[in-house]
Structures are given as C-alpha cells and as structure tokens.
Symmetry: C2
DNA sequence: CTACGATTTTGCAGCGCTGCAAAGACAGCA
DNA sequence: TGCTGTCTTTGCAGCGCTGCAAAATCGTAG
C-alpha cells in the first residue's frame, strides 16, 4: 500500500509552503485568489485528503464526541443514535458510543475527573441512574450536554421534552376516554429515578385537573423501562381486585410488555384496558394493537445536542448552560382508540 | 485545564529515557524487572495515560474499525452493534459506525480504492445491496470482514449462518405442522438480493424434501425486510383466492408486519395463519403473539468478526480468507405453536 | 584481564499537521 | 525614492508517541 499524499507533497507541486496549503485546505483568511487556485489544483491532482489524526494531535483534540446511553438495543436510543451520528458527522466529529447498562458507577466514571479525557472532546449524556452528586463531582472542564429530564445547573446544556406536561397529556387522554381506574407503570421513587418521577407528577396533575383521586396502588414501580418490566407490572395490576381499565406506561417498551400480558390473559386492548406509551418507537407503529404514545422530537433533540456540544467544545469561555425544551405530541393509535385509529400514523 | 501527563514526565520522574517508559507501558520484551518496577511506580504516581492519538499517528494507524450496516434502527443490527463495540474495545479499537441506508453506491464507496482510508484500519461489513462487482473493484489492501450470506473469494473473511439450511428448517417446521399452503415473504430475485435468494432456496428445498410443490405465487418479494414490507406483502397474500395458511418471513420485522396485517383482518395467528420469522430480535419475544424464529448466534458472529479483523489488520502478510459458519437454532414460539408455546423462551 | 556476544537502554528522527511569530510583498504616501 | 502599515506567506517548533539503530551495560569465555 502506497504512502498517502501529505500536505508537503501538495506544497511541493504547488510551489508554496506546506503552511500555505494548510491555510487553503482549512479555508483560513488571507490567501490570494491566485495561490488558492494553484493549491486547489494541486490538491485535486494528487487527491490529497487531510490526515485527521495528525490534525487532531496538532490541535490537541480528539475529534470524537462520546454518546453515553444506558442501552443500545433499546429502540429509543438506537433511533437517537442515528440522528446523533448524522449531526456529528456534519460538524466533523466521530461518535464514540458507550453503553453504561444503567450502571451508576459506570455513568459517574464517564464524566468524573481524569476519566479518559483524551478519548473525546465532549459528552452527550443520556443518564439513567445518575444522581445529583455525580453531577457535582464531575469534571466541569469537560463539555457536556445532558439529554433527559435533568435541569441544568448552568455548567452544561440540557435538552429534553417537558415530561410533566407530556405525562399530563397522556393521562388526560385516558381520562378523556372515560376510563375510571387509570394506572401508571414505571415509577421510580428513589434518587436516580427523577425522569420517572416527573412522569408520575404529570399523572397526578392530570387527575387533579379532572377532579379525580389517584389510587396509589395503581402506580407501579419498575426497575427498568423494558418489555419484561411492563409485562410483570401489568400482571400484578390485573391480579388486583379492581384492576385498572387504562394504563399509562412510561415507555413504549413497557406498553408493549403490558399489552402482551393483557392479551395473553384473554382481555382486549383497548376495550378492557386502554394502554398508552411514551417515546414513539417504530415498534409501536406495527405492533398489535398499535400503540398510542407521546412522541418526542428526536431529530431535534439530537441535532440540538450536537450543535450545543460542538459550540461548547470550541468556545474558549464556556457558554451559559442552556435549557432546551424539545417539542412533543400525542399520537393516538389503536391501543387507546381501537381499530378506528387504524388510519392514523 | 491542566496539561496531561506525558511519557516524558514519567521518564523524568523514573530517571529513565522516555523510550524505556514506552517499552514498559507497551509490555515490550527486554526490560529489567528493576526498571519495570521503577517506571510502573512513576506511571501510577503521575496517573499517566497514553495518548491514543499520538500513538496511532506514530504507528500510522487510526485505531478505528468501521462497522458498516444498512440500518441502525433495525433491532438485528443494533443488537449486533452492541456486541461488536464490546469486542472491539477489548482489542483497543473504537467502532466507527456507518449507516448506508442500503444504498449500493454508498456501500461501494466504503470499500472502494482511496475512500477514507485514514479513518479506519479495517471494515466489518454487513452489506445489503452490494453486488459482486463492488467486491471485485474493492481496495484489497483494506482489511475486510463480511457478515451475511456472501462467500469469501479468499481475500477477506466471511461470517454468517447457513442460510439455506436455516431456511429449510424454518419451512420444514411449518410443513411439519401440517400446513398446506406455505408462503414466503422477502424474496429479492435480483443481483443484490443474494441473501434473500438463499432463503428462498432453503424454502424450496424443504418443500422438495417433503414431496410438496412450491406455489410460486406464494413467494412474495419485498424491497426491504421491514415491518411495513411484511404488512403489505401479507395483505397481498390474504387477497389471493387461496390465501396461505403459513408464512416464512425473511426477518422478524417482516413477520411482525405480517402478523399485524393478519390480525387486523380478524384472522388468528397461528390458527388461521402460522408465521415464522428470522433473526430472533427481542421484539419477537414480547410481541403478541410471540414470534417463532431462526436465531443466529449474534454474539459469536460479532466476536469472531472483530477477532478476524484485528488479526487481518496486524498481519503483515494477509491471512487466507476464512469462511466461518456461525450456529443457529429454531426457537418455537406462539406464532406457530399457539399459546402452548408460552413457556418457551 | 580482555574480548565478545547478548541484553538493555537511549537518542534521534519523524508520523502529518497546526500555532506562533517573523519575514516578505505590496500599496500608499510623504 | 524611502518609509510605513497592511496583507500574505513562510519557517520552525512541537503535539506525544514509536521505529530504528547506535550506545551502554552485562555476563561469560578465553
């Protein structure tokens, strides 16, 4: 395999210094049209491509941004990943993926002091079990953007939808259908379960707005937001003396698991139990029945996250922490509206 | 942000040359125990971490391997991705992900001459629409491992399950249930559809082995292996005068789409139509009904792929192309066995 | 005690690029 | 014509590491 073309090769051919070639390639100011053209021509003739590695070394950066997510095989995250990769590429960054498996220790290590600083220039973090303390202990010189439900303390950006409002809408949708006993699956009443707790808050607010009492025994906690968690929680709910006739699930996967249990007990969705999910993953559009859900604008979340992170990386003085609210909407499908909803997306 | 600790810093503290520190850090031979210990201590005291970038630059490699897949939000690929990342990290490589969207042009460009050679040291490629010509035109100096159904020409490794055999088993399972009209969804009778064609071959072989004729109008082509493709193809099949009573779907997503259509027509799975899928994605374990499927050993595929690629990268003389058959097995679930299968995983 | 081969350590150059500051070119003006 | 200020271009050093080959050290045989 032949040696790659370097800046120097181009410089020689164009009859200028390698520094000038660098200037042209990087579009720096103050290069005469004449030399620019000459260099440009040489670049093309030799098929020169900058060596990213060398550039990064010289600039003291790595050219990578890390995307830290709890699970990769969760559709929500893999859909997000796609958008992040696309956006990062536009800005000349590679995405380094890290799956934490929701392990708080692992999550903490990623943003703690020292860590593998050299491996990435910034982090887009979608924490699961990260507690407030980890954020306090973090290396504040590491550019950080957090996705999800955590409020920024001003030293990083935060992007997420309004979970409380979204959860309220979801619950109101169920109440609006005339359901009498609305359950919630996914609460996590402990320090690292902030995201879940906001959804529970929305759930309660909706009841309040409708002048309805929340039956606390219908709020079921789950360790994760998985199909299996949903399936088990639903089984528990159906075993109650007065089982619910509607369920707000804190993720579409939970909803799919719940539906699985309901149907395998010989009950019907939505006739016997209406189900609403959260995330709008593709699965929910083709499941049986299709799943009514809260759809966050994932593309916008990903794009904004990368944008902000890149800005943060290239700023000499750190920009103030931004609090970005991404839009969301309720998408009604069969699991609450029945077959009638079939035509909707 | 303070400067990072370098080799030289360690060298100074340990009272040796930086080259010796490098030797110790990299575990090279011929270092006295005495100096090794001394250096080791200095490394720990300063918290030295090698700069991967500089190392790679000096070694003329990038430290990245590319994983090229058609779609990332397809569960099969995101499950594979996880395993690949894990395996690559063990070998000190980063995974650079590229989604081709199945675009043949894009796929071709990735392994063609020149390409972005500097960005990655090797490629793990899961092609979709890649035709044989692209492989001929490829840059043979780029270490390559191909996943899927293509046979190696000796210049790269190939890892995949035996699709023909697996498809035969799947079809035989349906025939063994006593089904009379078995359909297949997913054929792609054109140059880039090799994978699909092997499945069709297995489908035919199974019929032959059972002394049954294949009804060609029951073999439906689909552009992709998606839910929507499965849903549409199934709709077409159900509109036939003699609709099938069993369907072999070339992916679990196709199967999920097909089931969706069947159920929304008021028919039952598996009573009216039995459905079998391919890939064993998690969705199929919690869908309603759960999906009988062919389960490839993804972990083994990923691990072997990385292993072979790393070997190929570090070999000065390219090793012969290996043809690896990963194991697969049939997992019977509700979509063919009915509720009775509930207990199986 | 010297010589020689084997082992361990070192110095230097260079991977390909960019930051920095200085040099050169050029135009305008006295 | 000489001088100044501005715009372009250049040279050099160095990012942190490793390849290479020479130098130093060591052990042992003569």
């Amino acid at each position: 395999m032949r040696r790659e073309v370097t800046l120097r090769d181009v410089a020689e051919l164009a009859g200028v210094s390698s520094r000038t070639v660098s200037n042209v390639v990087n579009g720096y100011a103050n290069v005469t049209e004449r030399t620019r053209v000459r260099v440009q021509r040489a670049v093309e003739e030799l098929g020169y491509r900058p060596n990213v590695l060398a550039r990064n070394l010289a600039q003291g950066r790595s050219g990578q941004i890390a995307l830290v997510v709890p699970y990769l095989d969760t559709p929500y995250f893999s859909e997000l990943l796609q958008s992040v990769i696309r956006a990062a590429r536009v800005s000349g960054y590679n995405v380094l993926i890290d799956q934490t498996d929701g392990d708080p220790e692992h999550e903490r290590a990623f943003i703690a002091h020292g860590s593998r600083r050299l491996l990435f220039d910034g982090v887009i973090f979608s924490p699961l079990g990260l507690d407030q303390q980890a954020l306090v202990d973090r290396d504040t010189s590491l550019p950080l953007v957090i996705l999800g439900e955590r409020i920024s303390d001003g030293t990083f950006d935060h992007i997420g939808i309004d979970d409380v409002a979204a959860s309220r809408e979801a619950t109101e949708h169920l109440l609006g259908l005339g359901r009498q006993r609305v359950a919630a699956i996914g609460d996590q009443p402990y320090a690292t379960g902030e995201a879940a707790q906001r959804r529970t808050r929305g759930f309660r607010e909706a009841h309040q707005a409708h002048g309805r009492a929340v039956r606390d025994d219908l709020i079921i906690g789950t360790p994760r937001f998985n199909r299996i968690d949903g399936a088990q929680a639903m089984a528990h709910l159906l075993d109650l003396e007065e089982p619910p006739d509607a369920v707000f699930c804190y993720s579409d996967l939970v909803a799919l698991g719940a539906i699985h249990t309901i149907v395998s007990r010989g009950l019907r969705v939505p006739e016997d139990v209406a189900v609403i999910g959260y995330d709008d993953i593709e699965d929910g559009r083709f499941s049986n029945p299709t799943v009514t859900t809260i759809s966050p604008d994932k593309e916008m979340i990903a794009t904004t996250a990368v944008e902000r992170l890149v800005l943060r990386i290239s700023s000499s003085t750190p920009p103030p922490g931004l609090e970005v609210r991404a839009p969301h909407r309720l998408i009604v499908r069969e699991s609450t509206a029945g077959r009638a909803a079939q035509s909707s997306s």
